[in-house]
């Protein structure tokens, strides 16, 4: 175990600093452009370019991804986040789709049962016809063929 830890530590030291640092794209993916509401990494709006520059500066200063995102939330409010936080009213954005899926899954067996009940019976119709009805039917057919 000690050997494994030592190996991981040596490996981490051997990596260049840039390989460990977060990239602008990684941060930009998690926030939105305030003017066009598209993910920052694909936005070319003027404010989006400013924000990417801001992210690059913060990365150069050694800030972590979360620290940079927190700074952007401080600047623009929680609405700058690409995905809503899992708390308060925004929790609804996570819960409503889940509830919809669960309700949908619960409806499937109910609908299948209903449709199966409505589908035509596999038993032959004649099987439920009484001998008296058969006699009347034959009589009717005979009369029609004669007439």
């Amino acid at each position: 175990m000690r050997w494994l830890l030592a190996f991981v530590a040596v490996l981490a030291l051997a990596l260049p600093a840039s390989a460990l640092a977060v990239t602008v794209d990684e941060v930009a993916r998690d926030v939105k452009c305030p003017t066009c509401s598209t993910p920052l990494n694909v936005s070319e709006a003027p404010v989006a370019l400013d924000m990417k520059e801001f992210i690059a500066e913060r990365i150069a200063e050694g800030d972590s991804k979360q620290e940079i995102i927190d700074a952007l939330v401080e600047e623009f409010g929680p609405s700058v986040l690409a995905v809503p936080p899992k708390e308060g009213f925004d929790l609804l954005a996570w819960l409503v789709p889940l509830v919809a899926v669960v309700v949908g899954l619960m409806l499937i067996p109910l609908l299948v049962l209903t449709w199966r009940r409505r589908s035509p019976s596999s038993e032959p119709i004649m099987g439920t016809t009484s001998p008296d009805e058969l006699a009347r039917l034959e009589d009717e057919l005979r009369r029609r063929s004669e007439g």
């Binding site: 623009f76 609908l111 409505r118």
Partner: protein, 197 residues
């Protein structure tokens, strides 16, 4: 004879479920359309009222002062309703906005020209990074104050869809005039300012 034959035509539960689901779908669609129409109405109500020569009450806000000026100190809090009694030119701007660069010197001149007569020029910085906004202010040597609307809430309340946009607010806190787009010459606002002084 046909009366004697049984048919399996009774309305099933499935049909009822489908009818209820369709009904709910229609109600949801109508709700979405109603909300959309109401928002559309809200989207330009200030502008339409001003165009109809009305003076709608300005929305209120409480925002931090990004840069000080006049009696407003940097870092303090500015509540618009507390400025009642002061005619205001309220300008929404951002440092990345190219027309705002043309406009800033014009607003500075209007502030210098009318501040002795009680006018306050107040910037509202939106959709911007604080550092860039302050840099913009320094670059143009602006002496009028600005507040910062970080989450766009005030921008939405004033139904501003893009920057720059400027509102002239009278002493009673009502919108007397508004200009969508940059103020490129003092004359474009002089008449509206004179009307509220």
């Amino acid at each position: 004879m046909s009366d004697d034959l049984e048919t399996d035509e009774r309305p099933g539960r499935g049909r009822l479920v489908a009818a209820v689901a369709a009904g709910l779908g229609v109600v949801a669609l109508l709700a979405v359309m109603t909300v959309g129409l109401l928002n559309q109405e809200r989207g330009n109500s200030i502008q339409r009222a001003v165009e109809a020569n009305e003076r709608p009450q300005s929305p209120d806000f409480e925002l931090p002062a990004l840069v000080g000026g006049g009696s407003i100190e940097e870092g303090g809090s500015v509540r618009l309703s507390e400025l009642r009694g002061t005619p205001i030119v309220l300008n929404f701007w951002a440092s990345w906005c190219v027309p705002c660069r043309t406009e800033a010197p014009v607003l500075e001149r209007l502030w210098s020209r009318y501040r002795d007569r009680g006018l306050l020029v107040l910037g509202v910085n939106v959709q911007d990074l604080t550092g860039n906004a302050k840099q913009f202010d320094e670059e143009f040597g602006l002496s009028y104050p600005s507040v910062r609307d970080g989450d766009d809430s005030t921008m939405r309340d004033f139904e501003v869809t893009g920057v720059p946009e400027t509102f002239v607010i009278d002493r009673q806190g009502r919108v007397a005039a508004l200009r969508v787009g940059p103020v490129t010459a003092e004359e474009q606002l002089v008449e509206a300012i004179e009307a509220v002084l």
